[in-house]
């Protein structure tokens, strides 16, 4: 048992470093919102001492983590279903509110813009089509609806490849691993992915609107993060934020 004492000491030293609570709030952000969120964050932090951390994952993963007690303060989801779920389970005081509606696109690294249509996906030269997992991603559900509405779903069903989030689907498309794929307009309008291939906007008459909601997660009244979280949550619905969302193709 000689080693126990130094070990305990070491553990103490390691833990001591993270005992001071940071006053930065954590915003759990769905993958399709990650780029626009950077700009929202910059605008929010401008001229104030408040600052936020952004954690990016798919809405489903973030919801699982919130359910298991992850220390997030605000949840910015890609749909309305997941935040509703958290609210129903008592994870928030007030109902989720829609902050924007997303726009679905068809995107390809090599196919030209005027050639890109839903109908051409049935073509033989298209071997694989990437789509966010429709079970967990709203853009994936919208893509399936659009394919069915355009009567090509049965022909392309066997070509579908499922990304676990909008971000992984974008990675499949931009790396050229698939000929084409569905994604969010906000992703192609981001500076990080500009000039990477061509895209076409899928008419919103072909699918249900992709409404995206945010949720202010539960805080105790004594929590030092409560007021900043509320401030940021309200900022999401301000005119300033709305203008930024529009710039990234949200409606």
């Amino acid at each position: 048992m000689q080693f126990l004492r130094p070990l305990t000491f070491l553990l103490f030293i390691l833990l001591a470093g993270c005992s001071k609570p940071s006053d930065k709030i954590i915003v759990a952000t769905a993958a399709n919102v990650q780029y626009v969120m950077k700009e929202i964050q910059a605008e929010f932090e401008k001229g104030s001492t408040d600052s936020i951390h952004i954690v990016v994952a798919s809405s489903g993963k973030l919801t699982s983590q919130i359910r298991e007690g992850a220390p997030f303060d605000v949840f910015v989801s890609a749909d309305t279903r997941y935040p509703e779920e958290i609210f129903k389970n008592g994870g928030a005081e007030e109902k989720p509110k829609v902050y924007a509606s997303g726009t679905l696109i068809l995107w390809s690294k090599n196919i030209s813009e005027n050639e890109l249509t839903l109908a051409m996906l049935a073509d033989e030269k298209i071997r694989k089509i990437a789509i966010p997992n429709p079970e967990t991603a709203p853009y994936g559900r919208a893509a399936i609806e659009a394919l069915k509405a355009a009567n090509v779903f049965e022909k392309v069903k066997s070509k579908l490849v499922y990304g676990e989030s909008i971000a992984q689907t974008a990675q499949y498309i931009t790396s050229g691993s698939v000929e084409a794929g569905f994604n969010a307009l906000s992703i192609v309008l981001a500076p990080e992915t500009k000039q990477k291939g061509n895209y076409t906007i899928i008419s919103d008459s072909l699918h249900h609107p992709i409404q995206q909601a945010a949720l202010l997660l539960k805080h105790t009244n004594t929590s030092p993060k409560k007021s900043i979280s509320e401030k940021f949550y309200n900022f999401l619905y301000s005119e300033k934020a709305k203008a930024i969302f529009r710039k990234y193709g949200y409606r």
């Binding site: 489903g60 079970e135 967990t136 676990e164 790396s175 691993s177």
Partner: protein
């Protein structure tokens, strides 16, 4: 619960382990007996999957298999095969990812044999191949069994690489570990639990059998 992901997992693990056993034999033999100067470099390369994050392997394989890069386009034009998002692609990835789990135990087994065994066989006029198959291999059965099972179990436990290059296609690349991840993400915990329990039970049973068999093999070799 859809049993398909489980079947796919065990199919992948069986094919990978069988392929690797064949591939690893010459490599292990070479590592055990060669006096080549640059052996250390080869050894380090083979061991890389032990220490590399699966995301690194997955990332490079995604680029390598993509038809936009030279290797992927060469494979596509030569064999008409696209490795990314396909079962053969998963097999190749698993072979790379589990290589050390097959090579190291077999090499250790060969090195633990008394050198006189090999020398005696050579002295009696047997060639290297015959010596290897008829003298050395039969004497390191426990090592071969361990190699096979560790490889099998490691492939069953594969997650990160498959997630990056698989594309989650039901019946093609949606293995059990990824199915669990999906069910958790869809907040479907009971289904995730069913998959997880089956994987836990089966892998535990496999390891248990192997260690029991290994003990009896070792006991047979050293009569008390």
């Amino acid at each position: 619960m859809d049993p398909q992901p489980l079947f796919l997992t065990f199919r992948l693990a069986t094919i990978t382990s069988a392929l690797l056993l064949v591939l690893a034999m010459p490599v292990a033999y070479w590592l055990a007996y060669s006096r080549f100067r640059g052996k250390g470099v080869v050894e380090a390369l083979i061991g890389m999957p032990l220490v590399l994050p699966p995301s690194v392997i997955g990332f490079y394989l995604l680029l390598a298999f993509s038809p936009s890069y030279w290797f992927g386009s060469w494979v596509e034009h030569t064999f008409g095969l696209r490795l990314v998002f396909s079962f053969p692609g998963l097999v190749i990835a698993s072979v790379l990812y589990s290589l050390p789990f097959t090579v190291y135990p077999i090499r250790a087994g060969l090195q633990s044999l008394p050198p006189t065994l090999r020398e005696a066989s050579f002295t009696l006029g047997k060639g290297a191949a015959e010596t290897f198959f008829k003298v050395l291999l039969p004497n390191c059965k426990p090592a071969i069994l361990t190699a096979f099972v560790l490889t099998f179990a490691h492939t069953v436990g594969e997650f990160g690489v498959v997630l990056m290059i698989g594309g989650n296609i039901p019946g093609v690349t949606k293995v059990a570990s990824v199915a669990i991840y999906n069910e958790v993400e869809a907040l479907n915990y009971p289904a995730a639990n069913q998959y997880a329990m089956v994987l836990f039970a089966i892998t535990f049973a496999i390891l248990l059998v192997v260690y029991s068999v290994n003990h009896s093999l070792l006991r047979a070799r050293q009569p008390a």
